[in-house]
């Protein structure tokens, strides 16, 4: 079965500290993974996707197929990073219209 797991509901760090938001997935095919961010009561926004291997707002994520993980990292957290973060697995279009399967979300709180 396809599944995305984010084991931490809440992650609290101080400004300037490193951050790692964990994401593990279960999928038999070749995974297409995304990280979305939701600032307080706003829409979900794409943060990054593994296929582009880019760094957005200082965040990076590497796909580790051996560990079936796609952890999100940032070396120095900023207060404006405080938000809800969702890891998501994209299915092929023939499978429920290419929907995203979301993890439960991790709330990141960056304290001054």
């Amino acid at each position: 079965a396809q599944r995305v797991t984010q084991p931490e509901k809440l992650l609290s760090v101080f400004k300037g500290a490193p951050v790692e938001l964990k994401c593990n997935y279960s999928y038999s095919g070749s995974p297409e993974l995304f990280w979305y961010v939701q600032y307080s009561r706003q829409r979900l926004q794409l943060l990054l996707r593994h296929i582009s291997r880019e760094s957005i707002k200082g965040f990076t994520a590497d796909l580790n197929k051996g560990e079936t993980s796609f952890h999100l990292k940032k070396p120095f957290a900023q207060e404006e990073d405080s938000a809800m973060y969702y890891c998501a697995l994209c299915l092929p279009l023939y499978n429920q219209g290419g929907k995203l399967i979301f993890g439960q979300g991790t709330e990141l709180s960056v304290k001054p």
């Binding site: 994209c90 429920q96 929907k99 995203l100 439960q104």
Partner: protein, 115 residues
């Protein structure tokens, strides 16, 4: 270019009442989705559409109906609201079928409370 627009933004219903949530997009996207967001459960797919005139069930379709009469609009209906349908509802769209890993674009959400 508004992207994905959801109306209304907030609504309070009494048990048994009905309502329709509207999602409108101006990006000419083929794929549209309705998700509900609940604490500790992430987002779960209610219904989706792969094109005008087509709809299909997602993970949690019970109690909801949808219609896609026009490409730009995707309506979510609650015929007889229940307290379990208290949630935040998000509409999302995706580009054409040439790239299944293209990202979803989300609306601002509709916060629904059923008392």
């Amino acid at each position: 270019n508004a992207g994905v627009t959801q109306t209304p933004k907030f609504r309070v219903l009494k048990t048994g009442q009905s309502m329709t949530l509207l999602c409108a997009q101006d990006m000419n996207h083929e794929y549209m989705y309705w998700y509900r967001q609940d604490p500790g459960m992430g987002l779960r797919l209610i219904h989706y559409s792969v094109g005008e005139g087509t709809t299909a069930k997602g993970e949690v379709p019970d109690g909801y109906n949808v219609s896609r009469l026009k490409k730009q609009n995707f309506l979510l209906g609650l015929e007889s609201a229940a307290p379990s349908q208290t949630s935040v509802y998000f509409c999302a769209t995706k580009q054409d079928s040439s790239s299944y890993n293209s990202p979803l674009h989300f609306g601002n959400g509709t916060r629904l409370t059923v008392t």
